[in-house]
Amino acid sequence: MCGIAGIINLRHNTAINDAVLSDMASIMYHRGPDGTGIYNDKQVGLAHARLSIIDINGGNQPIHNEDNNVWVVFNGEIFNYIELRDKLKIQGHVFYTHSDTEVIVHLYEEYGDNFMKYLNGQFSIALWDKQKQKLLLIRDRVGITPLFYTQINGQLIFASEIKSILVALKQAPSLNKQALDQLMTFWSPVSPNTLFENIYEVPPGDFLTIENGSVKKKKFWDWEFAKPGEYLDKPESTLIEELHDLLIDATKIRLRSDVPVGAYLSGGLDSSVITALIHNYGDVDLRTFSIGFDDGALDESDYQNQMIKHLGADHSRIQCSYSDIAENFRATIWHTEAPILRTAPIPMNQLSKLVHDKGYKVVLTGEGADEVLGGYDIFKEGKIRQFWAKNPDSSFRPSLLKRLYPYLDLSKKQGVIYLKNFFGAELENPELSYFAHLPRWTTTAKCKQFFSEDMKVNLSDNAISELEKTFPARVSELDPFNKSQFIEAKSLMAGYLLCSQGDRMLMKNSVEGRFPFLDHRVIEFANSINPKFKMKVLNEKYLLKQSMRRYLPETIVDRFKQPYRAPDIPSFFTDKTPEYVKDLLSIETIKKYNYFHPARVEKLVNKIERGRAIGTKDNMAFIGILSTQVWHNLFIEGFQSNIKTNN
């Protein structure tokens, strides 16, 4: 992966300064420490910060075609570049490098604006057609790589990270209040919003065409699911083998690299599958990395050790303590560029640092399996609630929720009243696309009770309808399970897991993540099958387990699924509470930034200090408030000085 940035004139021929392009690349040094490159023809300027992985010596960017009239800067990897290159050579194209980047310019020459559909990979691309004076900005299908843009003073400015755009703007940004409201409902803003006013993301699967001063957005891929009655009509045994073969190939092509490739190993099913496939089918020595927690309730070291022994992997582990969370929180927000509601990204930063320190630039991970193949508790919760909605007066049906929330030991008849209030939202409307997600969103939205009065002004309280507006009409025709998968992939995965917890924490330490479960062939296969194969009754990732059982210990395949969690509130209330926490949560600073209600925040902190905050709601509110304060401090109040200290 790398960092890309650039500027294009929309109206006037304003001079584009090489120094600005260079600064835009420099602030993303962590994304590409191996070199920078600039193209500037005064109409468009492109900048690139390179993390060299394929064609170490010859792959410097920008890269051009045979006639020097198509130029590209690119962040990501094209995993099928070998096959594409062979075909393009037969078609007469002449290559001057051995990089995957160069296939992009020749594919564009061959197939025009539709060339992206031939790519298997993760990519953010800026392609400049000098003859047609046309710039394409393209983002991969599911949002593995980031790409942001803004329009100002007759120019469009884009970059892999927002801070690079801010460098070019040379003015303090402001908060998009609506985006914060959305983040405090869904964990991320509704695409294309970002936390920064007037700065947007190119949504996953979209491309922008900038030509003759106009900017047009178009989709080249989306999450499409088969409707009931149109599922792939094959026996279970065939589906098991098809998924098996697809995952082997998705893993093998992700091992293509001119530098050594490692893998994350959490001890869960998904990363165990990927490491087992590398072990069995990869022509590499298996090198794995994991994180352990001082907090035993979060630690999965026992399962990691089982897999290390099973595969004979050369393994490194780093331990995460409470103080690690508090000490790294500020630096993490500099990279997420958005508030967070859980501290989970922070250990992921420690893990990628371990990978970097051991001399690795690339890791394969199990990211995406839960979304694509049906692993999350929210899918189970949705299924149980659908089952309950068919007989709302039943006391047995909601009691199945206790499987997901064992502490809800409300076995008596009265318990149903509580369950109904906690999980019975919209029980009369099970056809709602977001039926499964409503309880989670309602709980998260409680964070907003801490908003200041000024924050609430002109804030439309309709985050859910704003998100729903982005769903295509076809979603309403899907099986409820697939509706939930669609929402999960488009909101939490694309908006948070792949960026704040994914790309940003990997690239902070110049490490590229590769995700076989997010190979579009795997996704399209999974989306075409009957959802009953993904979750058989309440057995999550059923088809995946059946496909991969042959490579894994039974204790891993059949283990109780443990969601990845990191220590939250207790990290900030030890005898070593960092000064920045005290400063940013002081009544004076809360008043000054004016996003939150000072007295309410004070009461929340008091509750925490008394050890009374044990719930998810208080936890998310606290992390959300603190990270928003840090975000403001870094990007609004002190941006110019923070460029120097953080970069």
Partner: protein, 82 residues
């Protein structure tokens, strides 16, 4: 401070994060008003056990005992009289 005042203060400070007495009526249902969620119920039980020295049995975890200031006050008084 009376039992009622203690309970009111606890609910206002810990769930509504407010000093505004008008934000909570003594017969407001915590469930209907969305004041308490699935873990909030555990917090209330910890509060009763820690601050009033009573033990809440499984079959006492019902809205009739826990779902409003009035219900909690009656429940505490009943338990303390036992």
């Amino acid at each position: 401070m009376s039992t009622r005042d203690t309970v009111r203060k606890y609910i206002l400070e810990n769930y509504l994060f407010s000093d505004d007495q008008s934000a909570l009526a003594d017969d407001d249902s915590f469930l209907d008003k969305g004041i308490i969620d699935s873990t909030g119920i555990l917090e209330v039980i910890y509060f009763l056990e820690d601050d009033f020295g009573i033990t809440v049995e499984d079959d006492e975890m019902m809205p009739e005992n826990l779902d409003s200031v009035n219900n909690i006050v009656s429940f505490i008084e009943k338990k303390q009289a036992q």
